[in-house]
């Protein structure tokens, strides 16, 4: 068997195994060494992934169960970059939340990247299901990894129960497809399902969407999101909110685009998009905890991104093709959202709280973190010149181009709603004074020390650049998204 196309996976797998051993030998004080090694190893794994995107080859490997195409390679890069950023932020986070399992957490993150890569590339329903379960099981453990913290444990358990149920329903949906087509291979399904009973397919789609909806946290499979986001360790939440969501979209797009006729799912997914945007944004309005707010924001963004799934277009141009729009949006969202969570980590370090009220006066205390957070909030709203602005333009453009003007209008109304709560954070940072206990007492030195450590500062610099630069010069990312939208078609 030729393992060369699987070089990214092999690299990541070997890295994870090596880290397991390394974790055994380093002393508890030196667990950061595991983290740094993980970052270095993942950076190495970027290279073969980039080759897959650039190569433009599209074929099935490993007995037709695993797709090698730029699309999958692109999502491998997304997963790896998210993991690198998150591990860096996590190393600071675990300084304040000492745990005996710090090394294990880095190892698990790397293992999870392997699962995410497999989700993006799976060409067989069985492989896909295994990949999703692999990722899910690790997510549950990571969410509950602060064992001393009851909220973290609660998050892990809640996540597990929701996830187990969603997976079961999705697996049930897969059996429908198998029953109709007599194959579990996604590429075989494509030809055979074209003649299947539409009503039958709709049932299958609804069942399958339960599993994917859970992974991308789309309404009505979103209920776990706020509780898990609030309770789980912040860097883990950052990872789940971008990497897990991205891989969920990758698998969703491959299954829907390749295996199922559009008539069976476009209407349903369009409805999910509209409901997710609207409900996510409306519920976010009243949140007072930054992590819960970002949870609802993440639900809303799943809705925006679903527009990209709905807008199937034969035209490959980035303006008009939902897929290219989605692929532009995702990396922009990775940098923006991880950046926002990184600021949340920094603020929680200094104030000990995740309340948005704790951001009061941040622009005085830490102008860099506040400016970065301001940029992330405006980016999440979709204000130019940020990368997510273009992402939204492309998504709405694709909707208009494919006859879903109403979806674009829903998206725009939602954008206006979302401004209110995103600006709430900006308002706290700039328009509210430092709280009295943090303000300098008479004679005492002023609280001017920045709240972010050099490492967090580095993560913030990278994420800010990632969230803003494609806003000024979108061309590179546009071309990348276009190249990556080469999905292996039957």
């Amino acid at each position: 068997m030729d393992l060369r196309p699987l070089l990214p996976e092999v690299t990541i797998g070997l890295l994870a195994l090596g880290l397991l051993v390394l974790d055994l030998v380093v002393t508890p004080e030196d667990k950061r060494l595991v983290g740094w090694t993980a970052i270095a190893g993942l950076a190495v794994a970027l290279l073969p992934s980039a080759v897959v995107v650039g190569g433009g080859h599209r074929y099935l490997a490993i007995y037709d169960t695993y797709a090698v195409d730029p699309f999958a390679g692109f999502f491998k890069i997304v997963a790896i970059v998210s993991a690198i950023l998150v591990i860096a932020a996590a190393m600071e986070f675990f300084r304040d939340h000492p745990t005996a399992h710090e090394g294990d957490i880095y190892v698990l993150i790397v293992f999870m990247v392997l699962g995410l890569a497999a989700m993006a590339a799976a060409a067989d329903l069985i492989v896909l299901f295994l990949a999703i379960e692999w990722v899910s099981l690790i997510s549950y453990v990571l969410a509950g990894s602060l064992k001393a913290d009851r909220k973290s444990s609660e998050a892990g358990v809640k996540y597990f129960f929701y996830g187990a149920a969603a997976s079961a329903v999705m697996l049930y949906g897969f059996t429908y497809l198998y029953g109709a087509a007599g194959s579990t291979n996604i590429y075989m399904l494509g030809g055979r399902l074209a003649t299947a009973q539409p009503a039958f397919l709709v049932v299958a789609v609804v069942l399958i969407l339960a599993g994917f909806g859970f992974k991308i946290s789309a309404v009505p499979f979103h209920q776990w999101t706020p509780d898990v986001y609030e309770g789980a360790p912040t860097p883990i939440v950052a990872f789940l909110s971008v990497a897990s969501k991205a891989a969920g979209f990758a698998a969703l797009v491959r299954v829907l685009y390749v295996a199922l006729p559009p008539g069976a799912w476009v209407g349903i997914v369009a409805a999910l998009a509209a409901i997710s945007m609207t409900l996510g944004n409306l519920l976010a309005l009243s949140q007072t905890n930054i992590k819960r707010m970002l949870a609802y924001s993440s639900i809303a963004h799943a809705g925006y991104m679903l527009i990209g799934v709905v807008a199937v277009s034969a035209v490959p141009g980035v303006l008009g093709s939902g897929m290219s729009a989605l692929l532009f949006y995702l990396p922009a969202y990775v940098f923006t959202n991880v950046g926002a969570f990184t600021v949340a980590i920094a603020v929680a370090r200094a104030t000990g709280t995740d309340a948005i009220a704790g951001y009061a006066g941040l622009s005085r205390r830490s102008p860099f973190a506040a400016t970065a957070m301001g940029a992330f909030m405006l980016a999440l709203t979709g204000i130019p010149p940020t990368a997510l602005f273009w992402g939204k333009v492309f998504l709405f453009g694709a909707a208009i181009q494919t006859g879903f003007l109403w979806l674009a209008i829903v998206g725009i109304l939602n954008t206006v709603v979302s401004l209110y709560y995103y600006v709430g954070v900006i308002r706290a940072m700039w328009q509210m004074p430092l709280p009295a206990d943090a303000a300098p007492a008479a004679g005492a030195p002023a609280v001017t020390a920045p709240i972010e450590t050099p490492l967090l500062r580095g993560v913030l610099a990278v994420t800010t650049a990632g969230a803003l630069l494609p806003g000024f010069f979108p061309d590179t990312l546009v071309r990348l998204a276009q190249a990556a939208s080469l999905l292996l078609k039957p």
């Binding site: 130019p384 010149p385 709405f396 208009i400 003007l405 206006v416 401004l419 010069f473 979108p474 061309d475």
Partner: protein
């Protein structure tokens, strides 16, 4: 010289970056740098005006075009004509004056100046851009600094006013974004270049789609103008904004809306605008009369000026709507040109006059009386003769006294619009009568009457304030007395736009 407009556009950003690096304790240095940057930008814009060939003011000049996002066909395309050049000059001049006026702002001076410079680039970009995406990006960029300026340096209700301003304008700009995309998807070959789209008129064949796109642009621009009934953000934003913020808001940001109607909607969607011109005209007339009536009822001087802006922008929109309604009727072409000339003149006149009025309100409120209640004053002319003279001049200019800048503008609007919408014009004229009444009444209440002993110790204008107001006063008189060169340039530009309409 090519690159001149880029210079005008980017000097403030360069200054902003310099200020970012400046230590926040060096307040004086920060102010001097800000002043130097805005002055340099003003001089650059004057240089651009000198390079501009006024005999061909109807064509785009000093153009620059470079690829920006080649994969989308979005270009960095700048140029000016007789419509945008005066607005660019107005912007750069007023920003200088705002920096001079804001010399005494002690709260976070570094951020304050940075935001004003960013705002300047945003506003200039809107006037200079000839690519839809470039236009849109600058349109939004001008929004964010104003949010912070109101939200941090504003009055007691600044939090509410700032978010209201942001939300309202975002609704409009997103609607405009949809319209831009609709236009793009129907263009062939697909392009975002405004000049190419004006010639293509992609939606001319499909009136329904044209009207859909029109509503998108209409929402975007009408909220900015603001037209009745979208004006409710304006009094809040104006009253809460710091003085320099109010000045730029009134003098330049509102013009972005009317500029959009003249520059984009008129040549791009002539059929749709023609079909709905009656609605725009009715709303404009309501704004003119209603704005004046509400202004009359105000006792807060800043609110009074804010509502008078609603009234004045109503005149502008009446002129624009009249020009749109005259489309396709050669007999009315002259009237359309006159109305449009008046509308553009009124944009400039309102910028100069209302800018001055907000400065004048700030002079009495920020550093002297700390009240803006019209009824709290009385007999001020004895204490503050220079201040009284300048305020009276600005108010008289605002009510349209012949010989001052506002008269030329309003006269042209009504002269042109009367031939197209006689009934509405007559109704709108009552707005002028009311405006005269409330400004005279205000002058009476503040400056004449029995002197209020409370204000016995107030000093007259100091040097910095005088410097802020002198250029605006000079412009009001000079253009009022001799408007011909400006009108000539505008006239050529309007002919150019109406040629595109046909």
């Amino acid at each position: 010289m090519s690159g001149l407009l880029s210079l005008v556009l980017w000097i403030p950003v360069a200054g902003m970056i310099a200020l970012l690096a400046a230590p926040r304790e060096q307040v004086r240095t920060i102010r001097i740098v800000a002043l130097a940057v805005t002055l340099a930008d003003f001089l650059a814009s004057v240089w651009a005006a000198a390079a501009f060939d006024f005999s061909r003011a109807g064509t785009f000049q000093l153009g620059e075009q470079a690829p920006w996002i080649p994969s989308l066909g979005v270009t960095y395309h700048l140029a000016v004509d007789g419509l945008s050049l005066p607005l660019v000059l107005l912007t750069t001049l007023l920003t200088v004056l705002c920096v001079i006026y804001s010399w005494r702002v002690d709260l976070r001076p570094k951020e304050y100046m940075i935001l004003f410079l960013l705002l300047e680039t945003g506003m200039l970009g809107v006037f200079l851009a000839l690519d839809f995406f470039l236009f849109y990006v600058f349109w939004e960029v001008s929004l964010i600094p104003m949010y912070f300026i109101i939200g941090i340096w504003g009055g007691p209700r600044r939090v509410y006013a700032a978010i209201k301003f942001f939300l309202y304008t975002l609704v409009g700009s997103l609607a405009m974004l949809l319209a831009i995309l609709i236009v793009y998807f129907h263009s062939s070959p697909r392009t975002f270049d405004m000049v190419a789209l004006f010639q293509q008129k992609p939606l001319a064949a499909d009136l329904h789609l044209g009207i859909l796109a029109f509503w998108g642009f209409f929402l975007g621009f009408a909220i900015k103008v603001p037209m009745f009934p979208f004006h409710t953000w304006l009094p809040d934003a104006h009253v809460e904004a710091p003085t320099a913020g109010s000045v730029l808001l009134a003098a330049v940001l509102l013009k972005l809306g009317t500029y959009g109607f003249v520059r984009i909607v008129l040549p791009l969607l002539p059929n749709a605008f023609h079909a709905l011109a009656w609605m725009v005209a009715v709303l404009a007339t309501i704004a003119a009369v209603y704005g004046a009536l509400v202004a009359m009822a105000q006792t807060d001087l800043k609110k009074l000026v804010a509502y008078s802006s609603v009234n004045h922008m109503g005149y502008v929109m009446l002129g624009v709507a009249a020009a749109a309604a005259a489309e396709g009727q050669p007999a009315l072409r002259n009237a359309a040109v006159i109305a449009l000339n008046g509308a553009t003149m009124q944009m400039l006149a309102h910028g100069v006059i209302t800018g001055a009025l907000f400065f004048l309100v700030g002079v009495i409120y920020d550093y002297r009386a700390h009240t803006r209640g019209v009824n709290d004053f009385g007999g001020l002319w004895e204490r503050l003769p220079v201040y009284t003279g300048l305020t009276m001049l600005a108010m008289l200019a605002s009510l349209g006294l012949p010989g001052l800048m506002g008269f030329v503008a309003e006269f042209s609007i009504f002269l042109g619009a009367y031939q197209i919408y006689p009934g509405l014009t007559v109704v709108a004229l009552t707005g002028v009568v009311i405006t005269v009444a409330f400004f005279l009444w205000t002058i009476y209440r503040i400056f004449w009457g029995p002197p209020n002993a409370r204000w016995a110790g107030l000093p007259d204008l100091d040097g910095r304030e005088a410097w802020t107001l002198a250029p605006l006063t000079a412009l009001m008189i000079a253009i009022g007395v001799y408007p011909a060169p400006l009108v000539g340039a505008i006239n050529a530009a309007m002919l150019g736009i109406l040629n595109l309409v046909r």
